[in-house]
Amino acid sequence: MAYSEKVIDHYSEPRNVGSLDKSDLNVGTGLVGAPECGDVMKLQIKVDPETKEIIDAKFKTFGCGSAIASSSLATEWVKGKSIDEAMSIQNTDIVEELSLPPVKIHCSVLAEDAIKAAISDYKSRNQD
């Protein structure tokens, strides 16, 4: 399968690898895993309390290349989006963008789940 330069780039030089301060009230942390393969992924978002816009995102993935690229792409995508917009990102968008083959679909699911988990963590910590 011919992968685009951009995609390979996401794999070989993933963006936004790292951590955000977990105790910061504006940070939401999502920790997810893929029972298909036993890989795990942590994805964090930082939300501007005023605009409710995601201003930063970081991830750390113990998994395959597709999972790394998926989470790298996911962090890029969520930045600048409102949490509602971010909520609507689907794994199929990632599959399409990265042209993932069938054996790698679950890796993109991991990224989608991670975004959702991070958002819901943020929400639960910021209930009024």
Binding site: G33, P35, G38, F62
Partner: protein
């Protein structure tokens, strides 16, 4: 579980395996979605004596293998090849306890909605932590701690595997209790994460 008894397509004897009739020695055409227990001719249950499984596998291999169809008509050659392929996959799956448990759960849970991603409380966070720790150990090439970690993970895996048989037994006795299947799913999931960690630890002699 009801076991509808399939019959040979030529002599109508009840078949042991859906792939072959031992009474008239005929290869049987079989549906693509055939289940592995039917392939090897065992009731759908986790309890499976490995000696019996082995024996049946050998018996069937000696009948189905393409080596014995060298001068048969082409259709039969092809059938023997697909039958052997499915026999090999079926044997491999039922032979290995974890694969058997996963496969059986998949069969039993067909009509039930299980949470396929369920894990014990706090398990994922622990796995993430262990992965990070493993990274550090691999970087520092600390073989003593690495092998300690290996043994620890291995033991946890063995403990999980030991639960499969009693849980499936419990399910057979109480098929209405869907919690048991969910518990099995959780076990299988957890084992997968442990195996992933184990795979990352290089072998030491």
């Amino acid at each position: 579980m009801a076991f509808d008894e399939p019959a040979c397509h030529t002599c109508e004897t009840t078949l042991v395996s859906r792939l072959f009739c031992f009474s008239c020695n005929a290869l049987q055409p079989f549906p693509r979605e055939i289940d592995f227990f039917e392939v090897l001719g065992f009731p759908v249950s986790f309890e499976l004596k490995s000696v019996e499984l082995e024996e049946r596998y050998q018996q069937l291999s000696l009948e189905l293998h393409p080596d014995f169809y060298g001068s048969a008509p082409e259709a039969e050659q092809l059938l023997s090849e697909t039958a052997s392929a499915i026999l090999n996959t079926a044997y491999k799956t039922l032979h290995e306890p974890t694969l058997r448990a996963g496969y059986l759960l998949h069969l039993l849970a067909e009509k039930q909605q299980l949470d396929e991603r369920s894990l014990p409380e706090g398990f994922l966070a622990e796995m993430f932590f262990l992965q990070e720790e493993l990274d550090e150990l691999l970087d520092s090439v600390n073989s003593v701690e690495l092998s300690a970690m290996h043994d620890d993970l291995q033991n946890r895996k063995i403990d999980i595997e030991a639960d499969y048989a009693p849980l499936f037994k419990k399910h057979e006795d109480h098929p209405e209790n869907s919690g048991i299947l969910q518990q099995l799913q959780t076990h299988l999931n957890a084992e997968r994460y442990l195996r992933r960690l184990l795979e990352r630890i290089p072998a030491t002699d």
